[in-house]
């Protein structure tokens, strides 16, 4: 709509308020129109073969981990498992681009990223097993607790990265979120804070097509999720989330940019969730087999395997070796998960406050009595330890 100015009237041009000046030129912030790819393109020539082999081994292991964890839900050993099968390239790259001093802020689906970062596979599963909320010390591993309320971990990543920079440490925080999570207010607030503070944060959106059953088209009207970055004044990058080399490269660049004081980046990795939302979900209610089948041709493990074998970097023995290593990991996980965890019910009261309140001391004493009475009745002296 254009407004006709009255003839003879002095042209009125609003001047922006004095404090306002654009910090950033929007053009370089715009994402590429197509997801960036490395595998099967000329760019692969620049990729480090050793890195590709490492990524491959991790992808194979990750795929097996997802399958094993899902199987454990069927045996009642895990309360629930949100598989990331199909998304392993994002999970692994997220873990591998970080230096030891960096921090990872995973969502509830990102167990694999935590394990790839070096977390004990059993400790990584305590939340989903139901014996403890967080089975590891976040500071020791620099992995925030797996986060269930969507997008709420994103402002934490910003605050941590900001604090690290204030202290003069060149630490980067990488925060993961799903496509559905980008609709949450915390997503917006985190990106805005990060950009204003130029915090060394990288946001990785795994766009796997669905938020439980809701497809992306009902989640956003934006041309891409990466486009959301532009309005905050940070670059948005679109990458093929099934191309491990591409995700690794794009995230590495974003991490380097953050580390050198360049501020945050939003990376959208386009991928697909091959399994249902969790083991408890029925995906046939909201998507057809043909769609899933179409994505099988673009499987992240296969893509990398084809590239490596095609270039002679990997032979049948190598493939076999990777699979055998994954199998050993799965067997160990199975075995350890088949043992009942030893729980102390008194832990319920141990970590609410630094010092127990009088009220909690009373309640703890009551539970102690109940447990003692219970073990008297059962003639056991295990103090109520139960799975």
């Amino acid at each position: 709509m254009t407004v006709q100015e009255l003839p003879g009237a002095a042209a009125y041009r609003p001047t922006p308020p004095p404090a306002w000046k654009p910090l950033t030129d929007p053009a370089p912030l715009l994402p590429d129109p197509e997801p960036y790819r490395v595998l099967g393109t000329d760019a692969v020539a620049d990729a480090d073969p050793e890195l590709l082999l490492r990524l491959y081994a991790e992808l194979v292991r990750g795929r097996r981990y997802n399958a094993q964890a899902t199987a454990l839900t069927k045996q009642g050993r895990l309360a629930v498992y949100p598989s990331s099968t199909g998304q392993e390239a994002c999970e692994i790259a997220a873990a591998l681009v970080l230096e030891e001093r960096d921090w990872l802020f995973p969502s509830y689906r990102d167990t694999l990223a935590a394990v790839a970062r070096g977390l004990d596979p059993v400790e990584a599963l305590t939340l989903l097993r139901g014996d403890r909320h967080t089975g590891y010390d976040p500071r020791e591993h620099r992995i925030a607790p797996l986060c269930t309320p969507l997008a709420t971990q994103l402002p934490h990543a910003v605050g941590l990265a900001h604090a690290a920079r204030l202290k003069g440490d060149d630490v980067v925080a990488l925060a993961m979120v799903g496509d559905g999570g980008t609709s949450e207010g915390d997503f917006h607030e985190a990106l805005n804070f990060a950009a204003v503070w130029r915090a060394p944060v990288v946001f990785l959106v795994q766009n796997n097509g669905f938020a439980i059953s809701v497809p992306l088209a009902k989640q956003t009207a934006a041309p891409s999720l990466a486009h959301k970055a532009v309005g905050y004044g940070m670059p948005g990058r679109l990458v093929d989330g099934n191309d491990a080399a591409a995700v690794h490269q794009v995230l590495s660049e974003a991490v380097a940019r953050a580390r050198s004081g360049g501020g945050p980046t939003l990376v959208e990795a386009v991928t697909y969730r091959m399994d249902a939302h969790t083991n408890a979900d029925d995906a046939t209610r909201y998507r057809g087999d043909s769609e899933v089948e179409a994505w099988r041709d673009h499987d992240p493990v296969q893509l990398l395997e084809r590239e490596l074998t095609g270039r002679g970097l990997l032979d049948d023995d190598g493939v076999e070796e990777a699979r055998a290593a994954a199998e050993r990991m799965a067997a160990a996980l199975r075995e350890r998960m088949n043992a009942d965890p030893v729980l102390d019910p008194m832990d319920l009261f141990a970590h609410v406050y630094a010092e127990q309140t009088a009220q909690l001391r009373e309640q703890a004493a009551r539970l102690r009595e109940e447990l003692d009475a219970e073990s008297d009745r059962h003639g056991t002296d295990d103090g109520g330890t139960a799975r």
Partner: protein, 343 residues
């Protein structure tokens, strides 16, 4: 437990009238000077010094990296504070007004309150969330809520509220020093209340969680906190003419709750009235009355009564005087204890 009389004796000759707002500002300043990990953040806390001027001068003295004007986003402010605390800082967050803290509830409840517990004690979050709360300042809608019951219902949070200038300083220092998150409720209508107080020789910092007897008495206990303390003190004074000798207990801390002090007082007096301005239904008074009944049933000579705000959304300012419990309503409640007292 300190009494008003005892602290009066400790005052130095240098003491001169200071407001609660000044004492709060001083507590922030002293905490920041003492501990470089203390950071203040919020809306307008820097150049402006906060809409109530509590943070006045902090940005000038400590720089805007330690007293930071944030974007206007309460969840973002508190969420960023979580990350800062994870990295070893002690953030003090200012929520501009009580009802504007609600966007941050998700962060407060799901993360701030639970992080220690979720991580089995590995990651405590020493965050202080300052919330100006309550009515009586003629604020329009959304500027006068008393939201303490929401905070009290969340395990993992400490909830404290000063009623005096000295406590404003001491409790805020203690809250910032606490390794646990504290929701620090500032009774905004007492911001300009004054007392003889010397910022050069501030009151010793007491650990949070102890109530204090502000006025000893024998015939009934008024249990109160924050903005209702002056109301209760005035009521106790007025009740003398009716032959009542009222004890006034200032809770100071709602979580942890000082059962011991409250129980001791009510057992002495045999009667109790809980006074606060937040709504009665589902409000703190119900919890407090229940605790008293459980612990003092055989000592009670009358039912525990509550004097609270009405169960209505906070009224428009021209009507708020009808909602806020005043001296008369407290005295009426005391009179309702009378029948049993005569027997």
């Amino acid at each position: 437990m300190t009494t008003a009389a005892a602290t009066a004796g400790e005052r130095t000759a240098k003491a001169k009238p200071a407001t609660m707002a000044q004492a709060l500002g001083r507590a922030l300043r002293d905490s920041m000077a003492e501990d470089p990990s203390v950071h203040v953040l919020g809306e307008d806390v820097g150049t402006l010094g906060g809409v109530f001027r509590i943070t006045d001068g902090l940005a000038k003295e400590f720089g805007d990296e330690r007293c930071t004007d944030t974007p206007l986003a309460e969840a973002g402010i508190l969420g960023a504070a979580v990350g800062m605390a994870m990295y070893g800082l002690r953030p003090v967050v200012e929520m501009q007004f009580d009802a504007f803290a609600y966007p941050a509830f998700e962060q407060l409840i799901s993360h701030v309150a639970k992080m220690r517990n979720r991580t089995g004690g590995a990651m405590p979050l020493p965050i202080t969330v300052r919330v100006p709360y309550g009515g009586g300042i003629g604020g329009v809608e959304h500027h006068s809520d008393s939201s303490e019951a929401y905070y009290m219902a969340t395990p993992g949070l400490h909830v404290v509220t000063p009623a005096t200038v000295e406590d404003a300083y001491g409790l805020l220092r203690a809250s910032i020093a606490s390794d646990d998150p504290v929701v620090f409720l500032e009774p905004k209508r007492l911001y300009w209340s004054k007392a003889d107080w010397s910022p050069q020789h501030p009151t010793a910092v007491e650990p949070i969680g102890r109530a204090v007897v502000r006025r000893p008495g024998r015939s009934a206990t008024l249990i109160t906190y924050g903005p209702s303390l002056p109301v209760c003190m005035e009521a106790a004074q007025a009740a003398v003419e009716e032959g009542w000798d009222l004890e006034v207990v200032d809770l100071r801390s709602l979580v942890p709750f000082d059962d011991e002090s409250v129980t001791a007082s009510v057992r002495r007096t045999g009667r109790a009235v809980v006074v606060h301005e937040s709504t009665g239904f589902g409000g703190p008074g119900g919890e407090i009355a229940a605790r008293i009944t459980e612990r003092c049933f055989h000592y009670l000579e009358a039912p525990v009564l509550r004097v609270a705000g009405f169960d209505i959304p906070y009224p428009p300012p021209m009507q708020e005087r009808h909602h806020l419990p005043g001296v008369d309503r407290v005295l009426d409640a005391v009179a309702r204890l009378q029948w049993e007292a005569d027997n």
